[in-house]
């Protein structure tokens, strides 16, 4: 139970520190709010401030428990000493008793269910892999560490920094509880909004619509960030609505802070910037009031919360918007092809017919990773709320913060829009409160796990048990995690058998949050993708350099040659495993004086000149005219043949050869290479394993579900690897000998 007390302390300490910072700020600004509003918005604004402070501490590597305790005690102590914790705001009129007790009953039931799930050991896939995986790394290093092999480390991590605060004391579950705090905050803020607009029943019903939804309950009780984002953008909306009523300039401070913090929580919430600025500009313009200063103040404050993340990425991975915008900011850490493939896959989640989405989002949930409950089949009716001013405002925010859904059809991506849709739906029934009451109860009942399982898909991602024993650590944490997560067991295998400091390659995500080893996941970075490419080359003939393009031309004195792509491919990259230069039938040995260049992806050009068929330079984007691989001889050489060895993906591409003479003039040497096929005649496995070793990877783990996983097990002698451990015969850990 001591462990549970520590976890609860850590989460409460983080939340209290955030709240105190916000309370002090709101008090200093002397903004007039209702009591409950002040408390809830203080938590959100304070979270932004705490996150920004932690960014500075993490950049300085000062994230030590002592520093965090000092920060927390200072913030809480100051809030108490100045009386900021005592709200001066008025109370809302009380809810009608029936509504109050119905709300309390539904809320209490789900809170019991959620609280134990949040308190249980963190077992969510992305929470274990990267939300807390990165937090664990920062915690060990007492601040940021430069991570170039995990795209997720480049995303903004505003909420993860608050998790870092809690994690320092209470580890994983404390972070999940912090997220749960955001869930509570946004739920009560929805109630509060209903009361502010004079329809308390609407607020209560909408809060239950939101709170009871299975995907929201799930997300809000694990160390994800979507519900926190919903809280932040709803807080922003709320403040903007208040500002619209009284145009109090001081409100622009928390508005600016939450605008920037939304981006700091998640890139997709960059929409908060045009939303907030557009709102302010429009309202000021319509009222014939000055618009420049309010907009500038809001933008300036937002920038304070946005810029650190951009600068961090710019310095560390040469792309402020990493892992996106890689065409605009070419860098060696994230491939353009990754970004494009990722976008494509997130737009469908494997669904062949996107007309499935409404049913998936409301009742089924297996493809879109969660569902909101059948009540939301009524969402079209919520358009009737447009007849109210509040309804129009809600729909505007819902549409704006729902826009990222077009890029990612996962149910989670609608969570930021869910508070607005819930309120709009409840507002539709404002004149029929009895019906609204029934809808609230029906939604609560339909979302209760034992009821939801009757209609949702069996594999739909949702909370399905109340893990009281695990939450209270009566069931040991390791046992619970082992029971719930195969990847946790695989990570424990790594912890047991791999020496400290060794990096481990894996084709799929592991649970980084539970290991100090760096896990290099095959798709999570450019370096990782190269490793995966190398390991797959012996296994797939389509990866092998079986296509030979031989350019023959009359012997010429040249200082450089380059192979230039002339074709727009439909969907394949261009690659060269080896570029060889010959004269009179003899290959020119590669000289230290030679200089190699390529465009794009200049960083991998050496792989076309290393004399191994298991590595290759690749464009890592669809082949297009103008791409080239160039070899400078450093002096004049007489040559008459250039040979390109490449994989069959090159059949969609066309290449010409250019040469540079002593005067520096480039001319086309040949556009018509002789094309021949040379099937691979040797085993490439050992060479591939050796290349991994040469790149500092001596261990890798293969899950049974990975492509060609059996090959590593059956032909370990050919790979030159040794299986050093297995978990449940579903994952094998190998050492490269």
């Amino acid at each position: 139970m001591f462990a549970v007390a520590v976890i609860l302390f850590a989460a409460l300490f983080a939340a209290a520190t955030a709240w105190s910072l916000g309370a002090v700020l709101l008090r200093k600004l002397a903004i007039k709010l209702y009591r409950v509003e002040e408390r809830l918005l203080a938590f959100l604004v304070g979270s932004a401030c705490l996150s920004a402070i932690l960014f500075v501490l993490a950049a300085l590597r000062w994230v030590h428990r002592g520093v965090l305790i000092a920060l927390g005690v200072l913030a809480i102590g100051y809030a108490f000493s100045t009386g900021a914790y005592r709200s001066k705001g008025a109370r809302f009129p009380p809810l009608p008793p029936v509504w109050k007790w119905a709300f309390v009953a539904a809320f209490a039931a789900f809170t019991y269910f959620y609280l134990f799930n949040a308190l249980a050991p963190e077992v969510s896939p992305d929470g274990m892999a990267y939300h807390l995986g990165e937090v664990a790394k920062y915690s060990r290093a007492h601040g940021f560490v430069r991570i170039t092999t995990n795209i997720y480390a480049n995303l903004s991590q505003g909420v993860e920094l608050i998790y870092l605060f809690a994690f320092a004391f209470g580890k994983h579950s404390a972070a999940a509880l912090v997220h749960f705090t955001f869930l509570l905050a946004v739920t009560f803020l929805i109630v509060s909004y209903g009361r502010r607009i004079g329809h308390p029943q609407v607020g209560s019903a909408a809060a239950i619509f939101f709170y009871a939804s299975p995907v929201i309950g799930l997300d809000g009780t694990i160390a994800y960030i979507d519900v926190a984002l919903a809280a932040v953008v709803f807080g922003l909306f709320y403040l903007l609505q208040i500002w619209d009523q009284d145009r109090e300039a001081r409100l622009l401070v928390p508005i600016g802070i939450l605008t920037g913090f939304a981006f700091a929580v998640k890139y997709t919430a960059f929409l908060a910037v045009p939303y907030a600025l557009g709102f302010i500009l429009w309202k000021q313009w319509r009222a014939r009031r000055p618009w420049f200063r309010p907009a500038l103040a809001t933008a300036g404050l937002a920038l304070i919360f946005i810029a650190p993340w951009l600068v961090k990425n710019w310095i560390w991975v040469e792309n402020p918007f990493s892992p996106f915008a890689n065409r605009l900011f070419p860098n060696p850490y994230v491939h353009v092809s990754f970004e494009e493939d990722y976008r494509r896959s997130e737009q469908t989640y494997g669904m062949t017919d996107l007309r499935q989405i409404p049913r998936q989002l409301t009742v089924k949930g297996e493809y879109v990773q969660g569902f909101y409950g059948p009540l939301f089949l009524l969402t079209p009716l919520a358009l009737l709320a447009l007849r109210h001013r509040a309804g129009r405002q809600l729909w505007l925010a819902a549409v704006i913060f729902g826009l990222p859904y077009y890029a990612n059809v996962g149910a989670r991506f609608l969570i930021p829009a869910a508070p607005f849709v819930s309120l709009a739906l409840a507002l539709t029934f404002v004149k029929a409160t009895d019906l609204l009451f029934l809808l609230m109860l029906a939604h609560a009942v339909s979302c209760w796990p034992s009821v939801a399982k009757r209609y949702c898909a069996p594999s739909a991602w949702r909370l399905y048990e109340t893990p009281v024993e695990a939450a209270l650590r009566i069931e040991p944490e390791e046992k619970f995690l082992s029971r719930r997560s195969p990847q946790y067991n695989e990570t424990m295998l790594i912890n047991r058998l791999v020496p400290p400091g060794e990096r481990v390659f894996s084709f799929g995500q592991m649970t980084d949050a539970y290991t100090s080893h760096e896990i290099i996941v095959g798709f999570q970075g450019a370096f990782n993708e190269v490793l995966r490419d190398i390991l797959w080359t012996p296994l797939f003939s389509s990866y092998q350099s079986t296509r030979l393009l031989t350019f023959r031309f009359p012997a010429r004195q040249l200082t450089a040659v380059r192979a230039v792509q002339t074709q727009h491919a439909k969907d394949v990259q261009w690659g060269i495993a080896e570029l060889r230069v010959s004269s009179s039938g003899t290959e020119l040995p590669r000289q230290p004086l030679w200089r190699l260049r390529a465009h794009p992806n200049p960083w991998d050009v050496q792989m076309a000149f290393d004399n191994t068929p298991v590595t290759r330079w690749r464009s890592w984007q669809v082949a297009a005219p103008g791409m080239f691989v160039q070899l400078d001889f450093g002096s004049s050489q007489v040559i008459d043949t250039v040979t390109l060895e490449s994989a069959d993906e090159g059949y969609q591409t066309k290449v010409k050869l250019e040469g540079r003479d002593a005067q520096g003039q480039w001319t086309t040497l040949s556009q018509q290479p002789v094309e021949t096929e040379h099937p691979t005649q040797v085993n490439l496995r050992q060479g591939a394993a050796a290349e991994l070793k040469a790149r500092g990877i001596r261990y890798f783990i293969v899950e049974k579900t990975d492509f060609r996983s059996d090959d590593f097990q059956m032909y370990s002698a050919l790979w030159g690897i040794k299986c050093i451990g297995t978990w449940n015969s579903s994952a094998y850990l190998y050492h490269i000998e």
Binding site: V311, W314, I315, E318, P332, P538, L539, F540, S541, Q544, R590, Q591, P592, L593, W594, R595, L596, R597, P602, W603, V605, Q606, M607, F609, D610, N611, T612, P613, V614, D632, P679, T680, Q681, V682, N683, L684, Q686, G687, A690, E691, M714, Y715, A717, L718
Partner: protein, 174 residues
Amino acid sequence: MHRILPVALLILLSACERYPDSYPPPEQRHPSEEKNAGYSMVVEMSDPGVEWRLVKDIYPPLEGVPWRWTGTQPTVRILAARTDHLKLMADFSLWPTAFKQTGAVELTFDVNGHALDKIRYTSPGDKHFERPIPPDWLMTDVESIVSIHLDKLYTAPEDGKKFGFILSRIGFVD
């Protein structure tokens, strides 16, 4: 402010990593020197861990013998460590008692769907088969499927069970 900005920009710029404009050739690899040590391309029927290499028509082992009875088309999968200069090899035996029933039998040796050879055996006893395999029939990324098709089976008079021949080993050799 006018002092802070240039300093901040300088810090930013100094933090940016500069990549070389070009690269020298890397260390040259020598992939042809791979030894493939410890890997055998021959499937030994006496090997206790052989099951995963058997595809069909090879019966479970009998106690204490290093060979196995086959059905009509014993088939194994073998990963070629290289493709050139390899021969298909098989050691097997035609049981005299069965031979009395079937008479001369014809065996077709097949690699990846290509008939490598067809031989008519007119006498029982131990047999050894070995033939070069064209390199383009083989690949190193996936396993090759190797089978021997027998035209006539022996039927045991006691229980009616059908048997082919006695297989000891089959695989690729230099």
